[in-house]
C-alpha cells in the first residue's frame, strides 16, 4: 500500500482505483467475444480520466465491470483494486456481484451516470423518490432527512424549483433537466469515484456545455474522481486531466490531455483526431478517415488489433507481435511498434526492425 502511494506522480496524491489486466469475455452462440483484452489504468484522487473509443471498443464494459453490473454472460478476469471504506483495499472482481460488500460500494462509493437519462429513470416513480433510494439505502433511514439531502443535491446540480421538481415524474422533465437529476442521484451519497458513461451524448450542444460545467464545479466541491467515458474527443479535451484511448478492447495510448492532443502518437489516435474537423481551420479537400471498420472481437488474429487499418504498419512485426503500452516520454504511454521503435513483443520475441 505504501508503495502505491509513492508511485503516484507529483500533484495528485493517492490512487483511488487501479485496474490491472482486466479481460472480459462474452459467450455468444458463435463463440467467445474477447471484448476487453488486458486493460490497465489507475485513477488518482480528484482526477478525471477520459476513456475514449468508438462503439464496440469495450469502454462501457470496462466501466460496468468496476461496478459489477455487467451481464451474467460477461466473464471478467484480472484485478480492479479499490480502496473501499469499511472493506479496505479489495479486488472488486472477487466480490459476489449480488453480495452485500459490492452493494456497499455500488451507488455509495462508486456511482455511475448513464448515457440515456430517459432510460435510466423509472417512469413509475417521482424523481425525488428515485434520488432518495440511494440515500435511504446508504446514509439514513429517516425519510425526512433523506428528502432534505436530495433537495440539497438537486439544487447543487442546478435544478431550479427543486421542491416542486422533487415530486414530479421523469416525463415532466426535459432531457437536460433529467440528466441533472441523474447526476444528483449519482452524487447524493458523495462518491469517491463517479463513472460517467457518455453523459452528454444524447444532449444538445448548449445543454451539453451546461452539464459539463456543472460536472466540473461539482468535482471541485465533492473532490471526487471521474472516469469519463465518451467517443467525443472535443468533450474530453475540456474535461479530462488524462486521456486513455481504447481500441478493440485495449488501451492503445494514454497521456495527459495536453500531451495527447499536442502530440498524438498512436496511428489510431492520430486518425481519430484527424477525422474531426476543427472549426476555423482551412477546409481540407478530404477529411482524414481511417479506412475499414472495427473488426469483430472474435477469433482475432495475432499481432496488433489495429494492423488492418493502420497506415504505419510494419509487416512482419505488427502482425506477428502484440504491442504493449510502452513509455514514450512525458508520461505518455503508447502501444505501437511504429511509435516506440523497439518491438518488445509479448513473450520475449525478438523482431528485427
Amino acid at each position: 500500500m505504501e508503495q502505491d502511494v509513492k508511485k503516484t506522480e507529483q500533484g495528485s496524491n493517492e490512487t483511488i482505483i487501479e485496474v490491472k489486466d482486466l479481460r472480459i469475455n462474452i459467450k455468444v452462440d458463435e463463440g467467445i467475444l474477447t471484448t476487453v483484452r488486458g486493460v490497465n489504468f489507475d485513477i488518482k484522487k480528484g482526477e478525471t480520466l477520459g476513456l475514449v473509443g468508438e462503439s464496440g471498443c469495450g469502454k462501457s464494459l470496462t466501466s460496468k465491470a468496476i461496478l459489477g453490473i455487467n451481464d451474467k454472460k460477461c466473464k471478467a478476469s484480472g484485478e480492479i483494486i479499490f480502496d473501499a471504506d469499511g472493506l479496505g483495499r479489495v479486488n472488486l472482481l472477487d466480490l459476489n456481484p449480488r453480495g452485500k460488500e459490492i452493494r456497499s460500494v455500488r451507488g455509495k462509493q462508486i456511482s455511475m451516470i448513464f448515457q440515456e437519462p430517459m432510460v435510466a429513470f423509472s417512469p413509475m416513480y417521482t424523481i425525488g423518490a428515485q434520488i432518495n433510494e440511494a440515500t435511504l439505502l446508504h446514509i439514513t433511514k429517516d425519510k425526512k432527512k433523506a428528502r432534505e439531502i436530495s433537495l440539497d443535491v438537486m439544487k447543487k446540480v442546478g435544478i431550479a424549483n427543486a421542491e416542486k421538481r422533487y415530486d414530479q415524474y421523469p416525463h415532466e422533465f426535459s432531457g437536460g433537466m433529467l440528466q441533472r437529476a441523474l447526476i444528483a442521484m449519482a452524487l447524493v451519497c458523495n462518491p469517491k469515484l463517479l463513472i460517467a458513461d457518455e453523459p452528454t451524448t444524447a444532449l444538445d450542444v448548449t445543454i451539453q456545455a451546461q452539464i459539463l460545467e456543472i460536472m466540473k464545479e461539482l468535482q471541485k466541491d465533492f473532490g471526487m474522481s471521474i472516469l469519463f467515458i465518451t467517443h467525443d474527443l472535443g468533450v474530453v479535451a475540456g474535461m479530462c486531466d488524462r486521456v486513455a484511448v481504447m481500441y478493440l478492447g485495449r488501451i492503445v495510448e494514454i497521456a495527459t490531455a495536453e500531451e495527447l492532443y499536442a502530440n498524438p502518437q498512436h496511428p489510431y489516435t492520430q486518425g481519430l483526431l484527424g477525422s474531426v474537423h476543427k472549426i476555423g481551420t482551412k477546409n481540407q479537400d478530404k477529411l482524414f478517415s481511417i479506412e475499414g471498420t472495427v473488426p469483430v472481437a472474435m477469433n482475432l488474429p495475432v499481432g496488433c488489433g489495429f494492423y488492418d487499418r493502420c497506415t504505419k504498419r510494419v509487416d512482419g512485426v505488427c502482425n506477428v507481435y502484440d504491442p504493449e503500452l510502452t513509455d514514450a516520454g512525458n508520461g505518455h504511454r503508447v502501444a505501437c511498434f511504429a511509435c516506440t521503435g523497439c518491438p518488445n513483443a509479448k513473450k520475449g520475441g525478438k523482431a528485427d526492425e
Partner: protein, 334 residues
C-alpha cells in the same frame, strides 16, 4: 453567392401540428434559397424544427402555408407543394432524402439489393430487370459497398455500411437535390469522416445539391457553403459558412458556437452559457422567441418580434440589436 442557378426557393414555409386542442408551430415562416450544386446547412437544437423543415421540403409533411419553388431538370419552375400527386411523382425522383438512423430506415426483411432497387421499381416499373440490377450494382459500387454482398439483409452490415445503403437508395434515381437529415450523427467519428468524404465526392461527380440538416456544428461547418440557424421554428440567422462562424450576428448563434467542444485542451473557448431551456413551441414567449435566454435582452426584445432582415450582403439576421452587438465567433487561421 450560391454556386449555380437557384434550384430550390423555399418561401415562407409554415408547419403547424395540432394535437389535443394545442397547436404547435413547428416551423414558422422560413424562407431561403439554395443554388444548384450547393450545400446548405441547417443547424439548431433538438425541437427547433429543422427536421420538420426538411420533411416539408420533400413534402413528407403537407406544410400549412408557404411554397417550395423548384426548378426542374427541364428548366420549368414549379411549386413543389401545389402540384397534384401524379405530377409530383415525376419530380419526386429529383428530390431525395437520406435519413438519420441507419438502423430503422432500412427494412430488415428486404435484401440490400431490393432496398436499393425499390425506388426504381416504383418509378420505372417497365425498366428491364437486367438494367435495373446493373444500375443498382453501379450505384452500390459507387458508394463503396461490396457488390458481392448485396443479396444479404441489412442486419449483416455495420452502421457505416448501412448508411451507405441509404445513400445508394437515395442516389439510384439520379436526384438533383438530397435532403440529408442528421445523416452522419449516428456514426462513429472515423466512419463519419468516411461518409462525409463520400458525400463530398458524389456531390462533385453528380453536381448534387444538399440540404444538410444537423446539430453537429463542426460537420456543418466542414460541408456547407451556407448555413442557417434555427431556433424554435424560426430561422434566426443565415449566412455563408465562414461569415456565420467567424462573425455571428445573432446572440443565439454566438452561444451555440461557444458551446461546441473543441478538440484541443489549450484552445478552450469561453463558454457563453444559455440560461434555461428551449421554450415550449406550443406556447412560445412574446416578442423575440429567444429573449428568455438571451443575455443581450432589452425591453423591446420582450415585446416586439424582430424582423428577419438582410444586415450585410448574404447575411440575414432576426435580432433587434444585430447592428450594435459585437459578437464572438471562431478565429479563422487564414
Amino acid at each position: 453567392m450560391s454556386k449555380g442557378d437557384k434550384i430550390l426557393d423555399v418561401q415562407n414555409i409554415k408547419m403547424d401540428f395540432h394535437s389535443k386542442g394545442v397547436t404547435v408551430h413547428a416551423v414558422g415562416d422560413v424562407s431561403f434559397s439554395v443554388g444548384e450544386g450547393e450545400t446548405m446547412g441547417i443547424v439548431g437544437e433538438s425541437g427547433c424544427g429543422k427536421t420538420t423543415l426538411g420533411r416539408c421540403i420533400v413534402r413528407a409533411y403537407e406544410p400549412t402555408a408557404g411554397a417550395v419553388m423548384y426548378k426542374s431538370s427541364e428548366g420549368d419552375l414549379i411549386d413543389f407543394l401545389k402540384i397534384d400527386k401524379k405530377t409530383m411523382k415525376a419530380y419526386r425522383k429529383e428530390i431525395q432524402m437520406i435519413f438519420q438512423d441507419p438502423y430503422s430506415s432500412l427494412d430488415p426483411r428486404m435484401t440490400v439489393l431490393d432496398i436499393i432497387k425499390e425506388p426504381l421499381l416504383a418509378n420505372f416499373p417497365k425498366m428491364p430487370k437486367e438494367e435495373m440490377e446493373r444500375k443498382v450494382m453501379d450505384i452500390a459500387a459507387k458508394v463503396g459497398l461490396n457488390t458481392t454482398y448485396l443479396k444479404r439483409y441489412p442486419h449483416a452490415f455495420s452502421g457505416g455500411q448501412r448508411q451507405r445503403i441509404g445513400i445508394a437508395r437515395a442516389l439510384v434515381l439520379n436526384p438533383r437535390v438530397i435532403v440529408c437529415d442528421e445523416c452522419v450523427s449516428a456514426l462513429d467519428v472515423s466512419i463519419q469522416a468516411q461518409v462525409i468524404n463520400l458525400l463530398h465526392e458524389l456531390q462533385k461527380e453528380f453536381n448534387l445539391t444538399f440540404l444538410f440538416i444537423s446539430h453537429d456544428l463542426s460537420v456543418v461547418e466542414y460541408i456547407s457553403d451556407r448555413v442557417g440557424v434555427m431556433y424554435l421554428g424560426k430561422m434566426v440567422e443565415f449566412a455563408p459558412t465562414k461569415k456565420l462562424f467567424s462573425h455571428p450576428m445573432h446572440p443565439y448563434t454566438e452561444s451555440l458556437l461557444s458551446a461546441v467542444p473543441v478538440a484541443d485542451p489549450t484552445k478552450q473557448m469561453e463558454r457563453i452559457p444559455l440560461q434555461g431551456e428551449i421554450p415550449n413551441p406550443a406556447n412560445p414567449p412574446k416578442g423575440c422567441y429567444f429573449h428568455t435566454r438571451c443575455r443581450y435582452c432589452t425591453e423591446k426584445c420582450s415585446q416586439e418580434a424582430p424582423e428577419y432582415k438582410k444586415m450585410e450582403p448574404e447575411h440575414f439576421v432576426a435580432c433587434h440589436r444585430a447592428e450594435e452587438l459585437k459578437l464572438k465567433g471562431f478565429d479563422y487561421d487564414d
